[in-house]
Symmetry: C2
Subunit: 346 residues, 2 copies
């Protein structure tokens, strides 16, 4: 069985600002002494997907930085315009199908964390084998560990044999009461945006559910420059997964974390991020007096804290951010303010 | 009447760390677009003390930086060893007496703030004239504006004519209850460490109250290198002012602030320090979301705050400090920690 890895790496990653910027989004970041998240993602597939069968889809603006990061041998597809995930996945699947339509394509985000690569691979391989054998659209659903209101969920149905379950529905981000129900019911998984399917299976689903995409692509004779601007921005979830009938899932339990904000550094045990009495330290030399619960990343800096509690403290390239931890989701608000007068700094 | 200005500028000023360091103590700092505190202090005497009659006493380690700051024409006396304020004042008064023993010497700290230079000068000139005429030890006592427990006080007694009052006692830092009594009684002033006297008057007091100083000085034949190490570290308050009988004071009401910690930037209206919704900004470009009560100094940096409340945020030369404002007095604690492993940064 032939396999291909497709990594979606076009995200802007504003949530780790000021460390992440338009020119250096989350997937190109490293924390502490660790590798970049993109390099970490690639290495998760060593021994699973051949080195020559790896494709990264990114934006044109990030193509050079991405190529530099992954080195030669990895194909980088640069989108001429952002059109959300469906056109991106479609392009990658066509690209694979031209080489081997029956190969299993693994579509993966570039910037998530898996605490146990071993557990990840074990589920991945089951999903791969299922996708190769059954011609289903397979997604990895993450076993929820808390009543999270920030993610979409998969409602799972009948067992399909082994760990495989039918996906009955894609569910929007719930409120807290509903999230608690989901957690206790055991019938819901987090939608982690990880897909496995034969290239031919995916293209069949696209043709059926998003026929205009094939139309635009064919009428542009495969010329990405022409085809892309005409496509309607659509997510793969909305365009395909929510409507297809042959969607199954394998529950994933490997210490997954989407690294959605600075506070993720507290829960995801990233290599190179150290725990101290004052909090987690991703970069810098920390000295603290009566401080706790902080998240600090200031490479090359001496950081001194006095009575600092539950703060995010980040410095990168001339930008210093101090945020209350319970406002981690609002980093974007101050970023927008900075952008208005200092676009070079975001 | 001839006058001389003596500025005591040997302080280490750890309270403004990391902006202040051993090599750049408080008197050599500037805030925002303002002048250094030392330059500000000097300029307060323009038109009052002739340019050629100015003396700065500092440590040997700071002599070069001090000379560079004040330029030629100002005499810089460099102490070979720190011996507290009495030997420093004694040396300066001898230095003046060699030139004009009947000149009035104004002994001033280098790093305090006066909101109204006009009001300061008006009191200063009264004190100067009194010192010239009466041969008293004159001190400027600051009218208290709050029940401060961090300063020593002067207990004032009988009026001597005009605004002049006898000083009955020098009082140690009080507890809060006592500080409240002092404030409401109207008979107490803050001891601001500002003195005016004829050089001959001061030397007479020293000879009477600290005779060993004259002894060491004379036996070293005025050789500072020899005399200094033999002197006992003593403050001018303890060594002279508390014991002398001819001490009078002129109450000073000019928006004085000793700039004792980062939070002083909130009360002392230093030129170049701006007030914003998020707090006071001494350096840097500030962008804030739902933040208030902060004190920020990070020249050349973009500073982004999200939900930051009552924090001191300072960055200077690779050192970033974040302190809870109610812990401003504890900056020294973290400085000591940094000093232990990074002596170059304090």
């Amino acid at each position: 069985m032939n396999t291909y890895l497709v990594i979606m790496a076009g995200g802007s990653g504003t949530r780790f600002w000021p460390k992440s910027t338009a020119k250096r989004p989350k997937q190109l970041l490293s924390f502490g002494s660790g590798k970049t998240l993109l390099a970490e993602t690639l290495s998760r597939f060593d021994g699973v997907v051949p080195a020559g069968n790896r494709v990264i889809v990114t934006t044109r603006a990030l193509a050079d930085a991405t190529k530099k990061e992954v080195g030669p041998g990895v194909e980088v597809l640069a989108e001429p315009a952002g059109r959300n995930t469906a056109p991106c996945v479609y392009w990658a699947c066509r690209w694979v199908a031209e080489r081997d339509p029956e190969a299993v394509v693994m579509v993966m985000p570039a910037d998530h964390h898996m605490a146990s690569v071993k557990d990840f691979r074990s589920t991945l391989e089951m999903a791969r084998d299922w996708a190769a054998k059954h011609g289903d659209l397979v997604t990895l659903g993450i076993k929820p560990s808390r009543p999270e209101t920030g993610y979409g969920y998969l409602k799972v149905g009948a067992s399909q044999g082994g760990a495989c379950r039918k996906v009955d529905a894609f569910v929007e981000k719930p409120d807290l009461a509903r999230a608690k129900e989901y957690l206790s019911s055991g019938d819901y998984l987090w939608n982690g945006g990880m897909f496995l399917w034969r290239a031919s299976t995916a293209l069949k689903a696209f043709d059926e559910l998003m026929p205009e995409m094939k139309h635009e692509w064919d009428s542009a004779k495969g010329d990405v420059e022409k085809a892309y601007p005409r496509m309607t921005p659509t997510s793969i979830d909305y365009g395909v997964m929510e409507k297809a009938r042959n969607v199954v899932t394998f529950p994933l339990d490997c210490g997954w974390d989407d690294l959605g904000s600075w506070t993720s550094l507290e829960t995801a045990p990233l290599p190179g991020v150290n725990r101290t009495e004052a909090g987690v330290l991703a970069g810098g030399e920390l000295f603290a007096v009566e401080s706790s619960g902080c998240v600090v990343d200031a490479p090359g800096r001496v950081v001194a804290l006095v009575g600092a509690k539950d703060l995010i403290i980040v410095e990168h390239e001339g930008v210093l951010m101090v945020a209350s931890k319970d406002r981690a989701q609002d980093v974007k608000k101050v970023l927008e303010k900075v952008k208005a007068s200092r676009p070079d700094r975001v």
